[in-house]
């Protein structure tokens, strides 16, 4: 059963087509990676799926609702109730502690519950650091706090934008382990990345190029090496090799 259906979506900024007739779907409980080089439209499609931007053309059906046709207010409710967002830059509120950052999502969803927020932090291995400010946390810890915030309201879809982009290998591994655990528990994950190793963890990889859908790779049907070869040979990612780390 599809949780998300993206049909012929285009996004035009001024005269520039950031997305051009992109279509794909994501099943409930599926882990999908979206890959592509810079400027390929990865973040744009993530913003549209996440209800933070609107498509110029096409439809996006999330959990049975066409989110391209709803009002701003309804879109806000969809973001609040159905989507958990994980950012590359973490976007934690720097004057609130880790647990308070998680509670912010609860506050705008329903009611803040500190015990629940602490449980979410415990799940990502951050309970001991719950009372620390973001400035007192490492990048990996901040990202785990961001994940706890995304999970707290039990969203239908977890959208992660370059979740490991600012992390070292150790923290990347911790974050991927959390994603695996979530996936095993039945969560639907869409991870935008240009890290092949991250993409390989997903069941399918949607490859974008110049705003167009280049291909969809079924990772479960390929062995890792084959999949890597597919990305390298056909998506153009081979030119980028192992993605650069920004921190």
């Amino acid at each position: 059963m599809n949780l998300l259906e993206v049909k012929n979506v285009s996004k035009i900024y001024g005269g520039l087509k950031a997305l051009d007739d992109v279509s794909f779907d994501v099943k409930k409980g599926e882990w999908v990676a979206i890959m592509g080089p810079s400027g390929s439209g990865k973040s744009t499609i993530m913003n549209i799926i996440g209800g933070m931007d609107t498509a110029s053309e096409g439809t996006v059906i999330l959990d049975g609702t066409d989110i391209t046709k709803v009002s701003d207010r309804a879109l806000t409710n969809i973001r609040r109730d159905k989507i958990g967002l994980i950012f590359q830059q973490f976007h934690l509120i720097n004057y609130l502690t880790a647990v308070e950052n998680v509670m912010v999502a609860q506050y705008y969803h329903s009611m803040p519950d500190e015990d629940e927020a602490l449980a979410a932090l415990e799940r990502v291995g951050l309970k001991e650091r719950a009372r620390h400010l973001p400035s007192q946390l490492s990048g990996g810890e901040q990202q785990r706090c961001c994940i706890a915030r995304a999970l707290i309201n039990l969203p239908s879809l977890i959208l992660a934008d370059e979740p490991t982009g600012n992390l070292d290998e150790k923290n990347e591994s911790i974050v991927l382990d959390i994603f695996k655990q979530l996936h095993n528990e039945g969560a639907t994950l869409i991870v935008v990345t240009h890290d092949i190793e991250v993409a390989e963890q997903a069941q399918r990889t949607i490859v974008l190029e110049h705003g167009r859908l280049a291909k969809i790779v079924d990772n479960t049907a390929h062995k890792n090496e084959n999949a890597r070869s597919d990305f390298g040979d056909q998506s153009g990612l081979g030119a980028y090799g192992k993605p650069k780390r920004t921190s």
């Binding site: 900024y13 973040s43 744009t44 913003n47 996440g50 933070m52 931007d53 207010r73 806000t76 409710n77 973001r79 609040r80 109730d81 967002l85 950012f87 830059q89 976007h91 509120i93 720097n94 004057y95 609130l96 308070e100 509670m103 912010v104 999502a105 609860q106 506050y107 705008y108 969803h109 803040p112 915030r149 934008d161």
Partner: protein, 428 residues
């Protein structure tokens, strides 16, 4: 959670919030100072103008009619011609009217003509510093000593008990060769009477040609006990407005509600009306020059204060607008994140407004007390006395601070509403 976020913002952006508080405090302090001065300036200017004499003259009805016919300001001649007088025994009633406490001073006059060295000269009997027992059991001291403060007196003011003493106007004293300490003999139909000259005065008006004696002495000379030709009243009044002007023409033309308002306001016309009610067969009139001067000065002063208040509030609103907009721009990622998490525009606007309003509350309270200080500086510098603090200014300043803060926040709220999470979180 809400208050944690509010507290966090206020302390995190402490310097910016402090600037907003200071901006609001400046506006609030000016508004407080100007409003307190504005509400107090009426009494201050009134008190200043009281030194220039009475603002109400009470005449017998008949002499008032004659003075109207001949357009004279002073009805004293008319009083003599008509033979109608007011009663000295009723003077205490003036201090029993609704606005009794606004009656600062009053003095009766009895005018007659006497012959001095073969020449007819006016003689006026009056109170100098007369203590009168009121029907209420209180006593009040009143007379021209306090009302004619601009008189230049050589010698001593008279006392009401010394009925054989006189003050002589400078013109008459010069023409008749009278000096302080001389004894003058005045002739009336009933005979002669001697007075010791205790003072020669310069008034700058027709009084310089007259002799002033205690009221009882003048009444005795004319054989008119209890008679009074006119009364000058000095009262603290509220500047006239349309209602007062309509009432002054014809109080009976007012509706019951207007009549109540007018009667219970210290307009010169309503005080005059109330004096007429207690003094038999009298007409009380405002002395136009004085009351009009009061009105004009007050109107202009209050307009100036109002303009300064409005300008200071506009300045505050502009300052707040810039500072709050800068604050929202600085927090655009945080606001974008809250929107991405499902925060509605209303909830985020309320969060920002609460932060600003709390800051405004601190600034407003600080500004209010600073404003009281400014008002005292203005009071002592301009009027030489303290400005009384009016409690009614508190709600007015509160409303102004609230309005200015809300108006100043409009651009930042508009900016906040336009913020799209994708733009601020991903640079789209």
């Amino acid at each position: 959670m809400f208050w944690r976020m509010v507290r966090g913002t206020i302390f995190r952006q402490f310097s910016k919030m402090l600037m907003i508080a200071v901006t609001i405090a400046l506006g609030a302090s000016l508004a407080t100072a100007m409003l307190n001065v504005m509400f107090d300036v009426g009494d201050k200017v009134n008190q200043e103008l009281k030194t220039y004499g009475a603002n109400i003259t009470v005449l017998p009805k008949t002499s008032s009619l004659i003075s109207d016919l001949y357009e004279t300001e002073d009805g004293s001649d008319g009083a003599q011609d008509t033979g109608q007088y007011l009663k000295e025994s009723e003077l205490g009633k003036i201090k029993t009217i609704f606005w009794a406490y606004n009656i600062v001073d009053y003095a009766p006059y009895f005018n007659t003509n006497v012959t001095l060295a073969g020449k007819e000269v006016p003689l006026t009997g009056t109170w100098f510093s007369y203590t009168l027992d009121l029907p209420t059991g209180e006593s009040v001291t009143s007379g021209i000593n306090n009302m004619k403060t601009w008189w230049d007196v050589e010698g001593e003011w008279l006392t009401d008990a010394e009925e054989d003493t006189a003050m002589v106007g400078s013109t008459l004293a010069e023409s008749a060769g009278i000096k302080v300490g001389d004894t003058i003999s005045v002739e009336v139909a009933a005979g002669n009477r001697d007075f010791t000259v205790k003072a020669v005065f310069v008034s700058g008006d027709e009084s310089d040609d007259a002799i002033y004696v205690p009221l009882a002495a003048a009444q005795a000379l004319a054989g008119k006990e209890d008679a009074v030709s006119s009364i000058d009243v000095s009262a603290l009044t509220t500047p006239d407005n349309d209602l007062a002007r309509r009432a002054a023409k014809d109080p009976s033309s007012l509706s019951v509600k207007d009549m109540e308002t007018w009667y219970c306001t210290a307009y010169v016309s309503s005080i005059a009306y109330q004096i007429e009610e207690v003094i038999t067969d009298s007409v009380a009139k405002s002395v136009r020059q004085v009351s009009e001067s009061e009105g004009a000065i007050l109107d202009k002063t209050q307009l100036l204060m109002l303009l300064i208040t409005i300008l200071s509030l506009i300045g505050s609103a502009l300052g707040i607008s810039n500072l709050v907009t800068a604050s929202v721009m600085e927090r655009s990622k945080e606001i974008g994140l809250i929107k991405a998490l499902g925060g509605k525009n209303g909830a985020i606007s309320w969060l920002v407004l609460t932060e600003i309003l709390l800051t405004a509350l601190v600034g407003g309270v600080g500004g209010y007390f600073a404003g009281i200080g400014f008002a005292q500086i203005i009071g002592h510098t301009v009027f030489g006395s303290a400005i009384s603090v009016k409690p009614m200014v508190i709600p007015m300043v509160a409303v102004m601070v609230f309005a200015v803060t809300m108006i100043g926040s409009i651009p930042s709220i508009r900016l906040l509403l336009r913020l799209r999470p994708a733009e601020v979180l991903h640079g789209r």
